[in-house]
Symmetry: C2
Subunit: 326 residues, 2 copies
């Protein structure tokens, strides 16, 4: 049986994750890495051909699914609707509020060209979304809580780096234990965002910078920090590089419902990830397998993980799945 031919579009942390994790599958080959940069300037970790995005069309018959690895802010909203005219795509678009709009534009391109595009894969949106859907479909009267962390928030880290006198910084989002425990006990608390998470910041200040002012600017920053308990540590550049060079993340989806005469039923899903981009990449790879199969079945247009029958994600046959995993 011939393998599914995968290409990566965009070579950042996520692209590198796909490149590394695809080697663990038995049914897929990585055939190309597309980049906006000059291909000769891009050093990658494998022997895969590197191609400029201008030559996208030339690979039309050599690629089954393109895994889009650009950013959600500007890359994906532009790239996916274009690429979906030529290729089946999988992306990790994660701007929750703009998902319906992204779905519509991608759907138009894909449907018109008989392509399949699975949007917003990963873990949130992605696996966490699935857990919210399953839990609320089963225990309809319950309440779902999502906690993120402990993990690095790129957006919050960037916001600190923009403050005058800050050389470098990293921010961890941390779920507040008491809130998690109350939800786990089925107490269905009402929790503001600031009651669910705290924010811990590790900041490298410029020489001679006013640390009190920096700490105050962080803690009072609207939207990002002012509504949260925020802890600020000043550390050296060496400490930052040594102790904070990983991209861990994770979190919990907890659904607390009731059945019958006051019987509590608690469903919890949690992820503890040493590498956020490598886990996201692993989800996208499984979705690429489903995408390939769904396209063969004539399921064209934009799809989400909600539309993917779970068996489609696995290398195993339906018979093996029933025998070994059911």
């Amino acid at each position: 049986m011939s393998k599914i031919r995968i290409a990566i579009c965009g070579y950042g942390n996520l692209g590198r994750g796909v490149e590394s994790e695809i080697t663990k599958t038995g049914d897929m080959d990585l055939v190309a890495v597309f980049t906006r940069r000059n291909p000769e300037d891009l050093k990658i970790n494998s022997n895969t051909p590197v191609v400029n995005m201008a030559d996208l069309e030339a690979w039309k018959d050599k690629i089954d699914v393109m895994i889009m690895c650009g950013g959600s802010a500007t890359d994906l909203p532009k790239q996916v609707p274009e690429v979906a005219k030529l290729y089946n795509t999988v992306d990790s678009f994660d701007t929750h509020a703009k998902i319906p709009e992204h779905f519509e534009t991608v759907n138009k391109s894909a449907e018109e060209n008989k392509k399949t595009s699975i949007i917003s894969g990963g873990w949130d949106p992605g696996m966490f979304s699935l857990m919210r859907l399953y839990a609320s479909s089963i225990l309809t009267s319950g309440k779902t809580y999502t906690f993120w962390g402990k993990g690095v928030s790129q957006g919050h880290s960037d916001a600190i780096r923009r403050i005058d006198g800050v050389k470098n910084a990293i921010q961890y989002t941390i779920p507040i234990d008491e809130a998690v425990e109350s939800v786990r006990r089925g107490e269905n608390p009402s929790l503001s965002t600031g009651e669910k998470h705290l924010r811990e910041c590790f900041v490298v200040a410029e020489d001679g910078a006013d640390k009190d002012r920096i700490e105050n600017e962080i803690k009072t920053m609207p939207n990002y920090f002012s509504d949260y308990k925020t802890i600020v540590h000043f550390i050296s550049e060496e400490e930052l590089k040594r102790d904070h060079n990983k991209m861990p993340h994770g979190g919990f989806v907890i659904h607390s419902g009731e059945t019958g005469n006051g019987n509590k039923q608690i469903i919890e899903y949690s992820l503890k990830l040493d590498s956020n981009p490598e886990f996201t990449a692993s989800v996208l790879i499984a979705l690429a397998r489903a995408n390939y199969r769904m396209n063969k079945m004539g399921l064209y247009g934009a799809k989400t993980i909600f539309d993917v029958a779970p068996a489609m994600l696995s290398e195993k046959t339906p018979e093996a799945l029933r025998k070994e995993l059911l």
Copy 2:
């Protein structure tokens, strides 16, 4: 829009659970309860018509999905292939080793009659199976562990009750904390069944019975107890009725994998259920909704939860799901 017409076949704990939980949906009506008993002798908790199973065929045009609530040992293997000739069915067949055989016989009946039969729904098989599938499809190189409990095992309770001098008994399966914690830390231990679970038994002895002999017979019983750490408590019938009258259950599916250069990735799904049958019933109800939709789409034959696109389970529209849950 007309509601999905549901019937229950078999009125035990599970049937009562379906009867109670279906009232929480907005898109389903319970239209009949089928029983092997004399309908006039069966007192049920709602005003639903009670019908003898001999009259199954007479309801052919009045029922969309039949939820099969009999036992896995003898009821379901016989009943489902018969009922699937006339109705779409959902069942909770849970004898893992016999699932492939059950699938084949049900598939034949359903396919020939353009019916859809979702087999082996619930939580294990069911939601736990799904979690094993998702996790192992994403982190292919990882290892999946399933722990059950704390919860009542009907089979083990029955085995104790068959011992001479035992009046009544209940057995709890309990995951061993150290084993769970080792798996959570990503240590991928090799664990025998006895290293994963212990068994706690609450036994009511007959007056004058030899408790030492009973305890010894329990602890040395092959398959059921001899491979486990087993704790036996003798209590009074009153204590049993007062303290052990619920049917709690639950457990964990933990998948521990690695990506990249030794990055640990841990996925955990857990259920903490006050009522095992009511939770199982809630899963079957969501599957009945999916069943109805899949049958309308022409997806005939036997299916499992692996074949059900998650969006099919929800009352919400695909648009609402993308906007609210993705």
